[in-house]
């Protein structure tokens, strides 16, 4: 059983911004850019697990693009009858959710062995999920350095107390996508906010603006096509699937860290590994093995099930299903509305090494 605990020594509301006092505090006490716990795995075995291959990702990418072309073609042919709905429902998940995991894996550069293949799929997936490829490469790099360290991690999905309404709206991209489009226009105008300037090196910033301007032109063409042909169909293919197909990546993504500990240096305390069905694992590219991914990000998605077996004795019990994970996450979020200090403390099996202690601020 995981323990549900409150930590009254942490004062809420906390400033989750990257430019607030908790950033400096994390640096001062040694929470930022710290050494994290790692399960001991022999070097020879790690080399096997880290080994790159083009095979699995090429197969999955051909299947992904093939299914998108097929469902979009049939959906468009049947448009605007109701018969198009199931085809666009599938297309939407392939576009608005599978792009999340492809962005992620290709951003790490681990999906394919060949660098240009990673880069090509990364750029396409970034456009589909509406994440600027430069901004999000740096934001995700920080997420791995300082996972769920308050004031340092720009990718904390549910800050405490959690904004459940926002998460619910994002099942259909209703917050994230408009925010992403506004950011695209801001980048097109050559502007970065303070947080972005904190984690994007100056030498990389001009690349942000270039990509945003290309995207703006693509979206402008899609909108113009709608007016020209008098139908919303072009936006059903480009753009809107980021709304109607987003639900799957949110349902998967929330399981990663929500409700677990903040400000720790052991991924076994702030990540979940959840067993999922084969469909979700294809869409999510095995990121359900999230403890494993964070501890060893150089292991490709297709080797994560093997890495999971190597780490099993040193990790908390995996969640058996979505239902198992959400039966913990939802009550925890509701409790956190009243008590933001409340979180889930994972329990280790007797075979595991103890949790690595994290520094705490002196009060």
């Amino acid at each position: 059983m995981n323990e549900h605990v409150s930590n009254p020594s942490v004062h809420f509301p906390r400033d989750y911004s990257l430019t607030g006092p908790l950033n400096q505090q994390a640096v001062e006490i040694g929470l930022a850019n710290a050494e994290w716990y790692k399960t001991e795995i022999p070097r020879a075995r790690m080399k096997e697990l880290m080994k790159r291959s083009d095979g699995p990702a090429t197969r999955d990418t051909l299947l992904w693009f093939g299914l998108m072309i097929l469902t979009a073609a049939i959906g468009s042919y049947l448009w605007p009858s109701l018969w198009c709905a199931p085809f666009f429902a599938v297309y939407g998940v392939l576009y608005g959710s599978a792009s999340d995991s492809r962005w992620h894996e290709c951003g790490h550069g681990t999906a394919f062995k060949t660098p240009w293949k990673n880069d090509a799929v990364y750029q396409i997936a970034c456009f589909m999920i509406a994440r600027n490829p430069v901004v999000w490469r740096w934001s995700h790099s920080r997420h791995h350095t300082d996972t769920i360290i308050v004031g340092r991690d720009p990718e904390i999905a549910a800050m405490r107390p959690p904004d459940i309404f926002r998460l619910a709206l994002n099942l259909f991209g209703l917050i994230d996508f408009p925010v992403a489009l506004m950011a695209m226009l801001r980048y097109s105008a050559g502007l970065l906010n303070k947080d972005e300037k904190d984690y994007i090196p100056e030498s990389e910033q001009s690349k942000v603006f270039k990509v945003a301007r290309i995207w703006t032109v693509i979206y402008a063409f899609a909108v113009a096509a709608c007016f020209y042909w008098g139908t919303v169909l072009p936006l059903m293919i480009i753009g809107l699937p980021r709304l109607y197909g987003a639900w799957h990546h949110i349902v998967c993504g929330v399981t990663q860290h929500v409700g677990l500990a903040e400000d720790v240096l052991d991924h076994r305390l702030n990540c979940r590994t959840v067993y999922m069905n084969p469909f979700s694992r294809f869409i999510y590219w095995n990121m359900n093995y999230h403890v494993e991914h964070h501890m060893f990000p150089m292991v490709p998605y297709h080797a994560l099930p093997e890495l999971h077996k190597e780490m099993l004795a040193d990790c908390p019990k995996p969640y058996s299903s979505f239902a198992d994970a959400y039966s913990e996450i939802l009550p925890t979020m509701i409790k956190q509305l009243r008590d933001p200090t409340y979180f889930v403390h994972r329990e280790l099996p007797p075979t595991a090494h103890p949790f690595k202690p994290a520094p705490v601020p002196a009060h």
Binding site: H108, S141, T145, S203, P297
Partner: protein
């Protein structure tokens, strides 16, 4: 003043692999590829992670934390998130041992 320091036996490094070598408060990464040996600074220029825990692919070392890549022959950073080149060091082999020249 440059000096040659014995780092390890050549057999200590497997082909297409990397090991860590610490000396006088500094840390280095030593590589072997097709019986050629190379040495670089041991920490990634991005966020100071030990490269010896990373993956060697041909002449590229990939950082284990953020997957930043360097050509370990020249130290050249191969793109985000690594922007600063890695320092490289001359090496020589003498009697089955690998030496690096530390300036």
């Amino acid at each position: 003043m440059a000096e040659w320091i014995r780092a390890c036996a050549t057999d200590d490094i497997e082909d297409e692999d990397v090991i860590r070598f610490d000396h006088a408060g500094q840390t280095f990464a030593l590589y072997r590829k097709d019986d050629q040996f190379y040495a670089t600074a041991g920490l990634c220029t991005h966020e100071k992670v030990h490269l010896a825990d990373g993956l060697v692919m041909d002449y590229v070392i990939e950082c284990p934390k953020h997957n930043g890549r360097f050509d370990y022959r020249t130290g050249a950073a191969k793109g985000a998130p690594v922007c600063i080149n890695l320092k490289t060091y001359p090496v020589k082999i003498d009697g089955g041992d690998l030496y690096i020249e530390i300036g």
